[in-house]
Symmetry: C2
Subunit: 208 residues, 2 copies
Amino acid sequence: RLRRVVLERLMRYYRWLTESSFKKPLKNVTSAQIAEALDVDPTQVRKDFGAIGLLGMGRVGFEVCEVCRGIRHVLGFDQPYEGVMIGAGRLGSALAAYKNFARYGLEIVAVFDNDKRKIGGKVAGRTVQSMRALKPFIRRHEIRLAILTTPAEVSQKVVDRLVSAGVKAIWNFAPVQVTVPPDVLVRNEHISLGLSEIAYHLTQLADP
Amino acid sequence: RLRRVVLERLMRYYRWLTESSFKKPLKNVTSAQIAEALDVDPTQVRKDFGAIGLLGMGRVGFEVCEVCRGIRHVLGFDQPYEGVMIGAGRLGSALAAYKNFARYGLEIVAVFDNDKRKIGGKVAGRTVQSMRALKPFIRRHEIRLAILTTPAEVSQKVVDRLVSAGVKAIWNFAPVQVTVPPDVLVRNEHISLGLSEIAYHLTQLADP
Ligand SMILES: NC(=O)c1ccc[n+]([C@@H]2O[C@H](COP(=O)([O-])OP(=O)(O)OC[C@H]3O[C@@H](n4cnc5c(N)ncnc54)[C@H](O)[C@@H]3O)[C@@H](O)[C@H]2O)c1
Ligand SMILES: NC(=O)c1ccc[n+]([C@@H]2O[C@H](COP(=O)([O-])OP(=O)(O)OC[C@H]3O[C@@H](n4cnc5c(N)ncnc54)[C@H](O)[C@@H]3O)[C@@H](O)[C@H]2O)c1
């Protein structure tokens, strides 16, 4: 099993290869090029590629398509998976509408909320369903992933319902630690990592 | 100047120290403890702490409060800074309302949009202003940071306006690469890193 730090590095290599605008499309790439662009150790890049069975071609480096296919396969992006959104609020709506998730295999197939004013309304083309419909939906469609965008104070209760319904992975955007049984993955997502770079940059401007 | 990878590691140490729920509050922490919790090399942890002037106390490790204060100071979280939100849509509203940003020094002081139906309305307690008010506002309040949550296709135009108004850092949530002069920082934020761990976990469940 690959560790989280490795998975995140593979994701960053993948994003750099697929989302950067290169002057002309890259056919081959060396570990040195990737290392320099992403500020990682070239030895680390080669180890990570080796860990997923990618062999370089000596001085030429690695073939970009092969690297992308390899990473997509190992990370599981090439096998589409469905998720449900819990919380049809501002963040939940933005995420449900975000087109980019499809590149990583994710399709958000339903949105749930407990606010009567929202149930029955449309979010990202989906009709918002009541929380009463959650467990039957998860069971019927064998949903293994739920995305949590509920207020902090209700999140643990919602997680308990998700776990009892059979969800195996929770992408948690609520700013609270939730507890789950050992076979359930919780990925906490804090949209604040960027502030480390931004605040530091502003500090350097003010006081170089 | 500290490199981005270092800034991000410092942020992760800081978050782990301040957001984890420990059985009893930590007074001291060793590089080994941090290394194990975050899956980094303990030598790396000590190097990073050394780089920001934190000295350990031998076997006892580092004093948690001192580490937190040190990281807050280096990253610039202890000096409040203001930002403007461009795009009062779903994501912009969610971010403008997010209470956690204050811990990192950020205050979102105004929200701008070009949709007449939104201008004059309330988002996170702020009145949405017209894009015509953007440049005068930025100049009057000496705003150095803008957060971009506009549709991809208009983002470069909006960035050009922000740069000409004097903004020095752009936190870009639009899924598009934008170009800026060398003295302006662009931090691209993709809320998709977590899918590397989630999709992999689901793959392992299906095919261990
Ligand atoms: N991780 C991040 O970086 C980040 C960024 C912004 C917001 N957030 C967090 O995301 C969450 C949502 O933020 P928002 O601005 O979209 O808030 P919001 O109030 O607009 O949305 C929350 C939604 O959850 C629904 N809800 C409440 N209790 C529920 C329950 N028991 N079952 C189902 N639905 C329920 C509400 O009716 C509402 O529609 C908050 O916890 C917020 O702190 C996190
Ligand atoms: N980075 C991520 O992980 C992530 C996640 C979700 C959404 N997004 C992106 O964030 C952006 C916003 O998403 P959303 O769901 O909030 O969309 P939205 O349509 O709800 O909001 C966009 C807002 O921008 C405004 N706008 C359009 N043109 C403008 C202009 N020229 N000047 C000022 N304002 C303008 C619109 O009126 C609208 O209010 C999109 O680009 C989306 O792809 C990114």
